[in-house]
Amino acid sequence: VPGRHSYRKYNNWERIVAWTEKMVNKHPEMVSRIQIGSTVEDNPLYVLKIGKENERRKAIFMDCGIHAREWVSPAFCQWFVYQATKTYGRNKIMTKLLDRMNFYVLPVFNVDGYIWSWTQNRMWRKNRSKNRNSNCIGTDLNRNFNASWDSFPDTNNPCWETYRGPAPESEKETKAVTDFIRSHLKSIKVYITFHSYSQMLLFPYGYTSKLPPNHEDLAKMAKIGTEALSTRYETRYIYGSIQSTIYPTSGSSLDWAYDLGIEHTFAFELRDKGKFGFLLPESRIKSTCKETMLAVKFIAKYILRHTS
């Protein structure tokens, strides 16, 4: 796939790595790149830190691309970094956010799977780790977190798309992310993970029908976030807890981050609702990213105002 990086197109991993370097070079005062680990196939896991040096400020951690075939998700993380650097000093809200917060952005969580979805199988979902005693490849990284990890028997087969792995955090990718978040826990006030598709804004829990202590706050934020999103193109999102809105899931990053103590954790299921599914045309990337920015900026503003 020749050509250079474009925010209006899907970019393969090679282009995304080059883009991270370009962003650091172009905005050294605002963007730094941290390698938080590497994948099963030894690809680097990069987090871009957006904001000023001060580590003690409130921070938001965002990850994209945990499921390989959900390509619009990494496209959003790239768009977010682009907008943050482009509109700082021009857009009042973004300037205020970046003057007082940091954003940690993991553009592609499941790098090996993402590469595989570009080179071998567009429909691939899991990572690319080998499973002992099985010919089936891969673990679903979003079932590999230590959050009621083994509570559902249907995640225990390496040949299934939602295989949870041999143990919680068994995957190098998962461990790199959990170690980074644990070591920055004092500053991280929000965890947001981006998936597709279905047009939903979800919050804990997935592994239980129990309501999180601050579920009213989460529901209010999700409601206003979906309303903010729809102001752009009237795209309708639904919102709610994972368990009540879609179905019970164990081992998810969202529940793990919440139980770790990050009181505001959300999962976006980006466009669309099934007409294209995972194959959202590139011509819809920009509008999907623009409307999602409105929801993310609302969440960040809310946290700035309502957390100590």
């Binding site: 199988n121 429909m123 979902r125 798309e161 598709y197 899931t249 099934g274 007409k275 599914g277 194959l279």
Partner: protein
Amino acid sequence: ITPARFDREKVFRVKLQDEKQANIIKDLAKTNELDFWYPDDPHHITANMTVDFRVSEKETQSIQSALDQNEMHYEILIHDLQEEVEKQFDVKED
């Protein structure tokens, strides 16, 4: 390894009316290679849910017959997945 192709593969959307229909889809998942797009996994299928899944060309006929025989409400979201894979790149290089 030659990249996977999805010629004439289809994506079905089935609106399940009751538990019986949910079990039919779960049974089909046991005997066919269905790639579930929503929910992620056939174990999450319940009554009154909308289910999306990808079917290979060779299994389309039998799947469609099973849905028809059981008078299930379905639509085909994508008729040729390979075409959609190629059509997603609809923005020209800068």
